[in-house]
Structures are given as C-alpha cells and as structure tokens.
C-alpha cells in the first residue's frame, strides 16, 4: 500500500483519540467551574477553587498519600513474590510445572476483577475458609478480621497485580540464555550467587517496567477497595467516585481527577526515569572503567 492510503488507515485511530482527548478537554474545563444544583451540573465563573479545596483539605491529601503508600507496598510485594514465580516458570526443568503455573497465571489474568474480589470476599470473610483453617489449626482463637480493612484489599489487589508483573518479567528471564547462567556457575558462582549477580541484574529493566505497570494498576484500584474495603478503606478512585455519586459535585470530581492524573503520570515518569538511569549507569560505568 502506498503512502496515499496510509492517512486513511489512521482515521479510526484519530477519531478515537480525538474523542479521548476531547473528553479530557471538556473535563479539564469543567474542573475550573462551580457546582450547580440539580443533576450534577456546573456553572461559571472559572476559577481554581476546586483545586485549592483539594490541596488544602487534609482528608483529601491523606487519601492521596495513603493511596501512593499502599500502591508502593503492593508493588514491592508483587516484585518479591512475582519474580521468583516468573523464575520458576522460566527455568523449572519440569514442563508440567512450567505449564501449570503459566496456565494458572494467564487464567487469573483473564478472569475478571469483580469475580476475584468476590472470591476473596468468600475466602477471607469472618466465616470464610481462611478463618476456618486458622481456627482449626489453633493459630487464632477467634476469627480474624481479614476483610473490610487494608489486609483484605491488599491480598486481593496483590492477586490482581501479580500476573501482570510475573508475565512481564517471565518474558525477560526467558530471553536470558541458559548458557549465561551456566557460564557463571562454571566460573565458580553458586546458584544463589548466579541468581543475584547474573539473572536479576540482567532483568532489571523488566523489573522496573513490571513495577511501573503494577504501580499504575494499584494506584488506580477502584473495585477492590469498594468491595473489600467496606467503606473503611478508601483510595483516591473511591474518593472521586464519592464526589460524583454522593456529593454530586462534578467540577470537584474533575479537579480531584486532574490532580490524581498528574500524580499518576509523575510517578510513572519517575519509573521511566529510573529505568533510563539504570541503563545510563551501565553506560557511565563504561566511561569510568
């Protein structure tokens, strides 16, 4: 196909992107307006009052801060559990183990988030299987509160993000030739030393991009706190939802969303900067050595 047809091919994408950015233009505009009575309405004059309100409200800022800290914790947990998991999938000598884990991971990845939140509700509830097991084992003498608090949201969210991380890193570990690890063993490195000196450092870029993915999923978590937080755990997404459907304040919801979006993009940029820095450090080492 010659260049002539190419612009035509870009048309569907251009229309969709126009709608997307159009939506953000309208939304950005609305965030500077004032709420009006009636079904979420708005009116002039333009002003920064919504932004000022968010940025001076300790409760709102606390929710934003908690969301970020929580997302970091989920990200770290995903790395700690997901990396060894991906390593087994990539390197286990048994085909059955590899396919079983990969299958379970992809299945988890494809089964919906509401479904899984619901599954954890059943497992972690006061009369749930986990509490039954803990009681039967004598580890606790009365049911532990595992849902409607941070623990429940954390477990379910980790379950949600783990496949994203593990699948990202899995591909990267797979692309490290086995011979490179063997060469390290051959030169005198034990299995652990090989893992930490060779495999992990080579896959650092994948770890960072997997972490960025998990972080952006965790920071925008909405359904999990809604179902498993029992109103006590509120992340920034839930806060925005409440502004719209409880307070019927579209301009303030829009302003909160904008601030959230800026924070989300800024942290993602930090991740990409980190990824770049790692590569740069490798290049710099070259200059110094």
């Amino acid at each position: 196909m010659r260049g002539g047809a190419m612009p035509l091919l870009m048309l569907p994408m251009a229309v969709l992107m126009a709608l997307f950015f159009g939506a953000f233009a309208v939304f950005g505009f609305v965030s500077f307006l004032q709420p009006a009575s009636g079904m979420p309405g708005y009116q002039g004059p333009l002003g920064l009052s919504n932004y000022l309100r968010f940025l001076t409200d300790p409760a709102a800022l606390a929710i934003l801060g908690e969301t970020i800290v929580f997302a970091i914790v989920v990200t770290l947990a995903s790395i700690l559990l997901g990396y060894p998991l991906a390593y087994i999938m990539a390197r286990s000598p048994y085909r059955v183990v590899r396919s079983l884990l990969l299958g379970a991971l992809v299945l988890t990845f494809l089964s919906g988030s509401i479904n899984r939140a619901y599954g954890w509700l059943i497992l972690l509830g006061r009369r749930g299987v986990v509490n039954d097991a803990l009681l039967a084992l004598g580890l606790v003498d009365r049911p532990v509160a595992l849902v409607y608090n941070w623990t429940g949201v954390f477990i379910a969210l980790l379950h949600f993000t783990l496949p994203y991380f593990a699948l990202t890193v899995f591909g990267s570990i797979r692309s490290v030739p086995v011979q490179v690890e063997e060469a390290a063993r051959d030169l005198g490195a034990g299995p652990l030393s090989t893992f930490f000196r060779i495999t992990v450092p080579i896959t650092v870029p994948a770890i960072i991009s997997g972490a960025a993915l998990v972080f952006s999923l965790a920071i925008s978590a909405f359904a999990f706190p809604l179902l498993l937080g029992g109103g006590r755990v509120r992340l920034i997404s839930n806060y925005i939802y409440d502004q719209l459907f409880v307070a019927f304040n579209l301009p303030f919801a829009a302003a909160s969303s904008t601030i959230f979006l800026v924070v989300a993009i800024a942290t993602l940029c930090a991740f990409f900067w980190l990824e770049g820095a790692v590569t740069r450090r490798r290049a710099a080492k070259r200059g110094a050595a």
Binding site: P12, S113, I122, R127, L227, S237
Partner: protein, 265 residues
Amino acid sequence: MNRLASHTLWTLFGAAMLAFLLAPTLFTLLYSFSEARYFSFPVQSYSLRWYVAFFSAAKFQKAAIETGLLALIVVPCCLTAALCTSHAVARWEFPGRRLVDALILSPLIVPGVVTGVAFLSLFRILHQDIGLVRMAIAMMVVCLPYAVRALAANYGGVDRSTEEAARDLGAGPLQAYLKVTLPQLKPGLLAGGVFVLVEVIDNFAVNVFLVDLDSNTLPIVAYQHIRDFDDPVVAVMSTLLSALALTLVVVFNRMVGLEKLSQSR
C-alpha cells in the same frame, strides 16, 4: 543451601503460589454449587438452585445481553481500528510516528476512574444519554492500546519480504495483505481479541460512570447484588466467567501457545 533443601523450598513456593492464584476461583466454584446460602467448607450438600436463580433473574439476563452486545460492538471495531493503525505505524514512515505511538498508548496509563469521569463530562455536553453507546465508545478508546500493542509485537515478526514476494508473484496490494500478511498476524489478532474481550466484559471503573438507568453490565449488576444480598448468585456468574476465561486459555494455547500471549501483552 544444599540441593535438596533448595529444591524443596522452590517446590513449596511454587505450590503456595499456585494455591494463592487459584484459590478464589476454586472456592467460588464450590460456593456456586452449594445448597446453602452461606458458604461453609467442606460443602454440606450440592445443588443447582443458584444457577436456576441466576438464569431466571431479570437483572442478570438484561446485564448479560447488554454486556454481550457491548462485546459484539467493541471487539470487531477495536480490532479493525487496531489493524489499520498498526499497519500504518509499521509500514509508513511519517514525521511524528513516535508521538502517535505514545498517544495510542496513553489511555493505558490514565486511571479508570479518571477516564470514566472524563467521558461522563464529554457525553453530558454531547447530550448522549444511551448507556450502550457511551460505553461502546469509551471501551473502544480504552481497549485500543491493548489491541495495537498485541498487533505491533506481532508485526515485528512479520517479514516484509513475504508481502513483497506475493506482489512479485502477481498479487495486488490488498490481495497480498489479505493472503500473506493478515494470516501471519493471527497470533496478534487472537491475543488482542482476548485482551479486548476480557477488558470489555470485566471493566468496572469506567463503565460505572457511563451506564444509564436501564442499562447495566455484568460487573456492575454483580457489584450491586453483592452490596444488597448475601447469597451465591454472583458465585454462579463468576464461575461462568471463569469458565469462559478457561475456554479462552485453552483455545489460545491450542492455536498459538500461551507464551505468545505473555509476549504480546
């Protein structure tokens, strides 16, 4: 650490992760078949009463139809748009190509709730009140990056000279594309299709802002049901969706292999 100990540790870890990954699905499955309203393990007696309840509930029927319709609109449209886009991006050198790349991926990094509120503001201005239309448009935008990424990963592996060979042997441009290039894009199309389908069926954060008074998708109706009732009807829905996911996994594994799926994500 000796060999046996490390072997045992890895095995235990693998088993624990497997249990962690599959536990919610498996226990939801058990719950959906239990007679009792409240879950207890082991299950006392099995029955299909919650399946009957699910299929005879008008709200779930309506939501299933709505979700199905949404998928039927979004999946083909989104894949077509992605095919056009990925072809242009892969085969057409134009200034700002990298910018276009970044633009297409931007819906991926915007939190769902923010996208939802943004589209809500847009549709308010456009006076578009039909939930299905609003959701279809939003879902196409949200899903486009998934489809484009899967196809772009695939395009990298397609040897351009196969298309040139077809042209050389007498095929027209369209013919060459349909008979030579498109078949090679099958893994990408399948992977993209799976991602889009799953996202459309599962999306909650965006669609919850866009439904109208008489349209609801399955996740939203499930959420409302969980909020208001305490019975296994949603377990039935979850189990059915997990069965769908399992079917997708098996079909995909047969046709292209699971590892391809993780590569095109």
